[in-house]
């Protein structure tokens, strides 16, 4: 079936709302407007105002309310328009959702699902373009996932709802319009394991979310240079599936991390360090990474593109790594 990422998420939302009366969607403009990125269009008409709940511009209150509703036996899906706005509810996510289980000695679980858009590429300038997934991936008590394929977009929501703990789903804004084929029967996803999206023997390209497609494209270009790259899609940013990453690096002996965050304190930094800790002697070249330039994302298109990881930069970093031998 030909579909888009946007429609795949909507299908997942619809299915979740149909299957479980406790599920409801809440957030800014999710109802009448149909979602800032048109993801929830039509759901209000289908499920009504109680379950497709428009909120005021009060991130902290409605995310906190989602946490309370989860404690009260509901299964809220809370949409925060973008990760940039989620900084207004960072307190509720980090200090409350992530800690309640622990502080209560295991008495309370918080089965909330938070959806937020992330990433740059649409000339939305600095306050609508950041990639702050790694901030959330830093926090014990949260599960952080980043679906990058149609299957994952449709399948991960159900798995997130089944998880008794708070789950944050990051949807890269560049993905919504992408089209592709999606099987009717959708049981191929997993939020615990990273996925090997392309098998290869020469170098591991480790990425997630919006950068998967750029990385796959880079891998195809590398073939022309005689380089057979393996592409790992992390899928889950917390916890990280170290095993899949390490197995790949031990096989290829070289690795480049691709991450749309700024490199300081990024997931690329974390993964690189884990590889260094556990597979240092398996490496044939220094670890490398392609991240966003350390600048607030600029508005002009050419500067924005220059700041972001691109296919060419991934290709050249991979070639550099291939040229080295330690």
């Amino acid at each position: 079936m030909k579909t888009t990422y946007r429609e795949a998420i909507r299908a997942a939302l619809r299915e979740a709302l149909q299957q479980d009366k406790r599920v409801f969607l809440m957030g800014e403009d999710v109802g009448r407007y149909g979602g800032c990125y048109a993801v929830s269009q039509g759901l209000l008409q289908e499920f009504g105002e109680e379950r497709i709940r428009d909120t005021p511009l009060s991130e902290s209150a409605f995310v906190g309310a989602g946490i309370g509703a989860a404690l009260g036996g509901m299964r809220p899906i809370v949409e925060v328009m973008t990760v940039n706005f989620s900084l207004l509810c960072l307190d509720q996510i980090v200090n409350t959702a992530a800690t309640l289980r622990h502080m209560s000695g295991g008495q309370f679980s918080v089965p909330i699902v938070l959806r937020m858009t992330t990433g740059a590429g649409r000339q939305l300038a600095a306050q609508h373009s950041h990639s702050l997934e790694c901030w959330y991936a830093h926090v014990p008590g949260l599960r952080v996932i980043a679906p990058a394929t149609l299957e994952d977009m449709r399948g991960m929501l159900r798995l997130a709802l089944d998880d008794p703990d708070p789950v944050i789903i990051f949807e890269h804004n560049a993905l919504y319009n992408r089209e592709g084929d999606l099987a009717e029967d959708n049981n191929v996803t997993d939020i615990r394991r990273a996925a090997v999206r392309r098998q290869g023997k020469d170098i591991s390209l480790i990425c997630y979310g919006g950068n998967l497609h750029k990385t796959l494209e880079a891998a195809e270009q590398l073939v022309l240079n005689g380089i057979d790259a393996e592409v790992i899609d992390l899928r889950s940013l917390r916890p990280l599936d170290e095993e899949t990453v390490l197995a790949s690096v031990r096989k290829t002996r070289r690795a480049v991390m691709i991450d749309e965050s700024w490199r300081s304190g990024s997931l690329a930094a974390e993964i690189g360090m884990r590889v260094a800790e556990q597979a240092f002697y398996d490496l044939d070249a220094p670890l490398a990474r392609v991240c966003t330039a350390e600048v607030p994302i600029p508005y002009p298109g050419h500067l924005e593109q220059a700041a972001l990881p691109q296919v060419e930069t991934i290709v050249s970093k991979a070639q550099e790594a291939m040229a080295q031998n330690v």
């Binding site: 009060s58 902290s60 906190g64 009260g72 200090n95 502080m103 000695g105 295991g106 008495q107």
Partner: protein, 327 residues
């Protein structure tokens, strides 16, 4: 402010006296135990404010929920969490109501629907909105009582939450414990409008100011508010005007207020004034007071023994209760 009813029954009077004494004496002991380094971390005492928790909590049913702040020992005790479990939690022992992981500021209890123990000022307000929303969506006639200090009023979450409660007509009882100081900042130094209940009114929420030093006034106001919430399924807001006799926490040298002011408020001590009143009305005698003191002292000693005999969680369990199904 509410009118004080003239006569209190013996039974009710004894109950309140005992409840407030339990909080008062337990906390006095906690301060001692803190000095002995048995209790560590931050310890925020409720002494002076007992009338609020004692007068309010009895109007809530078993199914109702309570959300509180880091100054919550009194609320936890009045909600029915055993003194043993509270004391063991302050010690950090496995037998504590949060299995030792929370400490003084994070008392939790699923059995009594006690949702903290929240140490982020105003952090509990959005949570109470969600608990009430879940009740409303599931057609349950429950009330969520949310206790917070007047310092929370300055936070955005206070306003966001009041707006949502009114907009969605949620059954939340907001109880603002206005003790006049947010740590060391006096209300008048942080708020342009110091009549806090007026802020709730501006959101279209039924609200009242209550003499928070008088357990009868507190109880009457809460009783009315809870009835109203259950009947209308709409929020209500009570500003309890109260005072803490002790410092903000054990680290506070109290440089921000003078002793005369504290002494003046101490004249309004909720335990002493109720005792005097019950005596004057000849509802209780000296032997009743002695009996309460003895029973409370015994309960406290039992709680300390319980906490002392409690267990330290093995370090191997360090990674427990981060996620539900993992570790």
């Amino acid at each position: 402010m509410e009118q004080k009813p003239s006569q209190v029954s013996r039974e009710q009077g004894l109950r309140w006296l005992k409840d407030m004494s339990r909080i008062r004496r337990m906390e006095e002991k906690c301060a001692e135990l803190y000095g002995q380094e048995k209790i560590r971390g931050f310890l925020h005492l409720y002494i002076g404010e007992e009338a609020v928790a004692a007068g309010a909590m009895s109007e809530l049913g078993e199914d109702d929920a309570v959300v509180a702040t880091y100054r919550e020992h009194g609320h936890a005790l009045m909600r029915g969490i055993s003194m043993n479990a509270i004391m063991a939690e302050m010690y950090g022992k496995l037998e504590g109501c949060s299995h030792g992981r929370g400490g003084s500021m994070h008392l939790f209890d699923a059995a009594t629907r006690f949702y903290g123990g929240n140490a982020i000022v105003s952090g509990g307000l959005p949570l109470s909105i969600g608990l009430a929303l879940a009740d409303k969506m599931q057609n349950r006639k429950r009330v969520t009582a949310c206790f917070f200090g007047e310092g929370a009023v300055a936070e955005g979450e206070f306003h966001e939450s009041l707006n949502l409660a009114a907009l969605w007509q949620l059954p939340v009882l907001f109880v603002c414990e206005n003790n006049l100081y947010a740590m060391g900042t006096a209300l008048a130094r942080s708020e342009s409008v110091t009549d806090i209940h007026l802020k709730a009114e501006s959101y279209g929420i039924f609200s009242a100011a209550v003499d928070g030093m008088d357990v009868i006034s507190v109880n009457t106001a809460v009783c009315d508010a809870v009835k109203r919430i259950r009947k209308k399924s709409a929020p209500a807001f009570l500003e309890m005007r109260t005072y803490r006799f002790r410092a903000h926490s054990m680290f506070d040298p109290e440089l921000y207020r003078n002793k005369e002011e504290v002494e003046q408020w101490k004249q309004l001590c909720p335990v002493a004034t109720l005792t005097a009143r019950l005596r004057a009305q000849q509802v209780i005698g000296e032997e009743d007071i002695a009996a309460i003191e003895n029973a409370v002292a015994e309960e406290i000693q039992t709680a300390i023994d319980f906490a002392e005999a409690g267990h330290w969680e093995p370090v191997e369990d360090l990674m427990k209760d981060i996620y539900t199904n993992r570790g």
